[in-house]
């Protein structure tokens, strides 16, 4: 079977990022998954067994201090080394801020081509075919690479399931130590404040818009999310107004979500917002203005005030639970 490389991103604490599961699952459906990582110190036993549990049959780790101080370049170097050593059929990376830049640079460095933001992968006559969901899910598009290595970025949260567990062989190489590239001067991690599910993978998402009016009032969105075990999302207007951090933004230039249930509170449903949520299984909208475009895509729409409807909803759900 052909080798499929997956770029494993590490958190600044050296933990395996959440994207690794989906990447290894996708890789296992195409061939033999090998995890590639650039790391300042060799991976811990824990990290190695975690990658094994996620399906990595091999781990290629490139070790060097610059993995913590230079942006992206060490991972590009690690992948280029693994490509030369292992002659893979494809390289998979998360369509994350880091992953896509690294994938893009790798494609140029090794003379490959790039398929961006795939939502699923399959093999067809020995060729890897990627499916993309474009214009907010209005089209399904399939693509493949001809004439060189396929480098593919995968939408986070799009791949479900797990690869069969494996016991990985670990190959360790040294980074070149050139240290060329942009420098990481400081790491300002966002405080971990939430026990809520991750937005991209959540089964239920409750989003709030400008209609919430203030950061204080936005708590209502969080209360409903917690009552439903949901992730919190937002419109760009709510992010711009400072109600929530940018990472919560759903839409054209934010996160794309496809949950079982999406609840839009005080969101007008501009086309750019709908682009990020209209593939949800069920959409519920609450908005004062009956003409809001959000109602065009809602399975259940309520023309009403979020400040009266939502507390009543939380109350009614609580009563059922008792």
């Amino acid at each position: 079977m052909s080798t499929i490389l997956t770029l494993v991103e590490l958190t600044h604490q050296g933990e395996v990022s959440a994207s690794a599961r989906g990447l290894l699952a996708a890789a296992a459906s195409l061939g033999t998954p090998v995890a590639v990582v650039a790391t300042p110190t060799p991976l811990s036993e824990d990290a190695i067994s975690q990658l094994g549990a996620l399906g990595a049959t091999g781990i290629y780790q490139a070790v060097g201090a610059e993995a913590a101080t230079v942006l992206g370049t060490p991972s590009v170097e690690a992948l280029a080394g693994a490509v030369a050593a292992l002659a893979p059929q494809a390289v998979l990376a998360a369509n994350s801020v880091d992953g896509r830049e690294i994938a893009a640079r790798l494609a140029v460095r090794v003379g490959g081509a790039l398929l961006a933001d795939a939502v699923s992968l399959r093999t067809d006559g020995g060729q890897i075919v990627a499916e993309h969901s474009v214009f907010g899910g209005s089209y399904a598009v399939e693509s493949t690479v001809e004439g060189g290595l396929a480098v593919i970025t995968i939408r986070q949260g799009a791949i479900e399931g797990n690869a069969p567990a494996a016991t990985p062989d670990v190959t360790t190489v040294e980074l070149s130590g050139s240290g060329a590239g942009a420098r990481i001067d400081a790491v300002n991690d966002a405080p971990v404040t939430s026990s809520r599910p991750e937005l991209r993978a959540a089964k239920t998402v409750v989003s709030g818009g400008r209609g919430l009016g203030s950061k204080e009032n936005f708590v209502l969105v969080e209360q409903l999310a917690d009552a439903l075990g949901a992730a919190v999302g937002a419109s760009r207007a709510a992010v711009d107004a400072g109600f929530v951090p940018q990472t919560a933004q759903v839409g054209q230039t934010g996160v794309s979500v496809s949950p079982q249930l999406y609840i839009a509170l005080g969101i007008s449903g501009a086309i750019q917002h709908r682009a990020g949520m209209q593939t949800a299984k069920t959409i519920v909208a609450i908005n004062k203005d009956g003409d809001s475009p959000i109602f065009d895509v809602a399975d259940f729409g309520i023309v009403g005030d979020v400040f009266t409807v939502v507390p009543q909803l939380i109350e009614a759900l609580g009563a059922r639970a008792r």
């Binding site: 209005s138 399904a140 109602f295 065009d296 009614a316």
Partner: protein, 255 residues
Amino acid sequence: MKIAVLIKQVPDTADERTLDPETGWLNRDAGDNIVDEINERALEVALQVKDKDKSTEIVVLAMGPDEASKAIRKALSMGADSGVHVLDDSLAGADAVRTAAVLAAALKGIGADVIVAGNESTDGRGGVVPAMVAEHLGLPLVGALSVIELSGGKVSGERQGEAGTLTVSAVLPAVVTVTERTAEARFPNFKGILTAKRKPVNTVSVADLGVQDPAARAVLVAHSPRPARVAGKKILDDGTAGTLLADYLIENRLV
């Protein structure tokens, strides 16, 4: 300082965007084509440098069909000094690798101290072209900046990542990408619109750039529209809507 800004003309996200049923390529005739909002912000970053230091020279670069010249004129009316338009029929449907090879070749001719681009485009959403350009030119990539400081032969800023932010920097020359959290772009003023007509735009072809076609390419194998969503039930709150919604969620096993 000489700043090159990469601008892409895209279909307005406010319109319904479609794919050509024959080729699967972007249908450029469906609605308005505009400068991608993120590229106006990238230009704004450059213009703010120029506001402070009048000796700054800003060149905008776009690869695209005939109509992309309008995007360049818009950028010139906002305050850029000159434009380069890579125009060549053979580039229709070019993938990211080819686009980047062409842009990189054009940038060699421009010789900028810093190249500013958007972190991702609204039509492709790849977020890959600037990184590829950086790799071609052997320059550091300082990507996804939500706060940017460009001075003293250096770029630094806040990079917005998945798990928080990083403070990053690079010595120029470098390729920089900015996010939609950077400053909103200014509107062209009357004088800007008038002078834009006189500013130089250099139109070049693939042959002029002498760029080789990359061996590997992404090809489209299938494309199909998905059925549009239809509106469901809509009720006016008469004081019981919250309870009715709870019933709906429970009946449909959504909670």
